[in-house]
Symmetry: C2
Subunit: 331 residues, 2 copies
């Protein structure tokens, strides 16, 4: 049902997971599988009347513990491997309506604690090389369930983006003794034009090299690799800057902005990753209120991204947008 196949041209694994074609697709509100099971109602994924934040294994996993043997034989040039790893669903709240933006600060803090805990648990599994917490938000991103939720993947190898980040971190660390994110964060702070928001411990920035018009990275000032290394104060700061960024996003075009949120953490494969620096990347697809940025020929076919905006201008726009909730205003 699920396996990994090697692309010898691009040098990367592709997951095939055929049972997912039939997964639940935008069910009506009353049939939401992420709501708590109602007394006398149809069973949902969460068989209890209430919860705070719920984590469970994805019913349609791409990666799993003890996966079946591959259905197809590979070759030396194009090998195949079991799709081992983990796919978990994180339900942010028992309340069906709303988004992560609507959650109070305390819930965002607890979500970060959940991510940190799952990173610790999944990362301790010997076959898990990287733990990846993420959220796909909005139908244009391909979300199939509206209930506020995210996902956690435990990959048994380093997928290409994480691998390139880890390679860069290692090379930079060996060359300079430092961290490439610490260095670029220093430059971004010194320049200032692309900074969106800051706290004592975190910086939100549209990076110099943004691919998407409103791409934002959240970067801790201190060099840490994993969420579970953060202090309580840093977790509180992360919750504040994350929530502030979400409020800015929804204020941008006066509506719930779709995005991919990707939490990039140090790999858990035991390799040489001292130079890796925790950060969160947001890619909203909108280039205007109504127009989307597509990954078309140049991006997908050749690998050259075209950004129709200047990071300096989009950062200025995001910086000006006041959060809705005055308690979250960041000086």
């Amino acid at each position: 049902m699920s396996e990994r196949r090697w692309n010898p041209i691009l040098g990367e694994w592709v997951i095939t997971a055929t049972h997912r074609q039939d997964r639940t697709f935008l069910p009506p509100r009353d049939f939401c599988p992420l709501c708590p099971t109602k007394p006398g109602g149809a069973p949902t994924e969460i068989a209890r009347a209430g919860f705070d934040i719920a984590v469970f294994e994805n019913r349609f996993p791409s990666l799993r513990r003890d996966p079946p043997a591959p259905a197809v034989a590979g070759t030396e040039l194009m090998p195949v491997a079991p799709a081992d790893g983990a796919c978990e669903v994180v339900v942010y709240t028992p309340v069906h309506d709303g988004t992560l933006t609507d959650q109070p600060l305390e819930r965002v803090e607890r979500l970060i604690a959940v991510w940190a805990h799952r990173t610790l648990v999944l990362g301790a599994r010997p076959e898990v090389a990287a733990v990846f917490c993420f959220e796909n938000k909005g139908e244009v991103i391909g979300v199939t369930l509206h209930h506020p939720h995210g996902q956690i993947y435990g990959y048994s190898w380093l997928p290409s983006v994480l691998e390139r980040e880890a390679d860069t971190a290692r090379a930079h660390n060996h060359r300079t003794g430092g961290c490439v994110w610490c260095d670029l964060l220093g430059e971004e702070i010194a320049d200032g034009r692309r900074i969106v928001a800051t706290t004592e411990d975190w910086v939100a920035v549209v990076p110099f090299f943004a691919r998407w018009p409103y791409e934002v990275h959240l970067i801790p000032r201190r060099h840490v690799g994993w969420l579970h290394e953060l202090t309580d104060a840093e977790i509180a700061g992360m919750a504040r800057i994350l929530r502030t960024q979400l409020l800015k996003y929804d204020a941008l075009f006066d509506g719930s902005l779709p995005y991919i949120m990707a939490v990039h953490q140090r790999p858990t494969d035991g390799g040489d990753h001292d130079g890796y620096h925790l950060h969160v990347e947001f890619y909203p697809p909108n280039r205007t209120a109504t127009k989307l940025k597509f990954l078309a020929g140049s991006e997908t076919g050749a690998g050259a991204f075209i950004n129709d905006t200047y990071a300096e201008e989009t950062a200025a726009r995001l910086r000006e947008l006041a959060p809705h909730d005055p308690s979250d205003v960041i000086s």
Copy 2:
């Protein structure tokens, strides 16, 4: 207005081209800029009453000859460079309605000759490292003009996908003395399950490692790097297999299938690319008639593609679909 910025984390250039935000977006039929200018009508991009296939510089280019100096200063860690290169538009036909699928075989042959000619001309420019002919088809791919057309980019560096292909080709060639595409094509032909169509000179295959459900690669049997190296017979064969593939695609869900079509040719930077093998890659976003495959968190955020289908099954489905035009049936 346009520049390249270096992403030191992923090790790649991102193009910023701010003037493109205002480019023509899905104009009404009567205002199509790719139709021939009508007598007494508003001027279009093509100021003549008729033409066969037209090529001209994109009015909203991301890359151009003698680009302006970058508007923003870079740093040693995050340098900036002029966006030199070329962006051309290829109008397949003066007739507004229809798609490439609707064009007769002779026109497809002439289109290939146009691609070959522009590759020769653009590739001879010293600043052009790679010539990339492609088509974005369908509004879900982000196309902004409906008139049948494609594009040609001349990059002044190797974008990441082309660079990874070139690196693989070189390493494989140094290790084996051969070509990685020749080797994988041999394996695909021997296996047979993923072959979609063949001619004497070309093979259409859903590769073992397909990322998209109906991804198809067209690969010439002979080891050539550029279109202009093809014999007349090989160009005729390429036109037949390309048109056959397009007919199969439109028959798949009984409608005009969106896709990205990417023609990958040997770089023109004068480097060590003897192992590079010309091929055409198609990525249709549909996983069913109504459902699309999205590049969401795992794909875009981590770099791990998930394909919900088996290449063996999608290839069988495409193989069975008879072309509409019996003259294009390939035995």
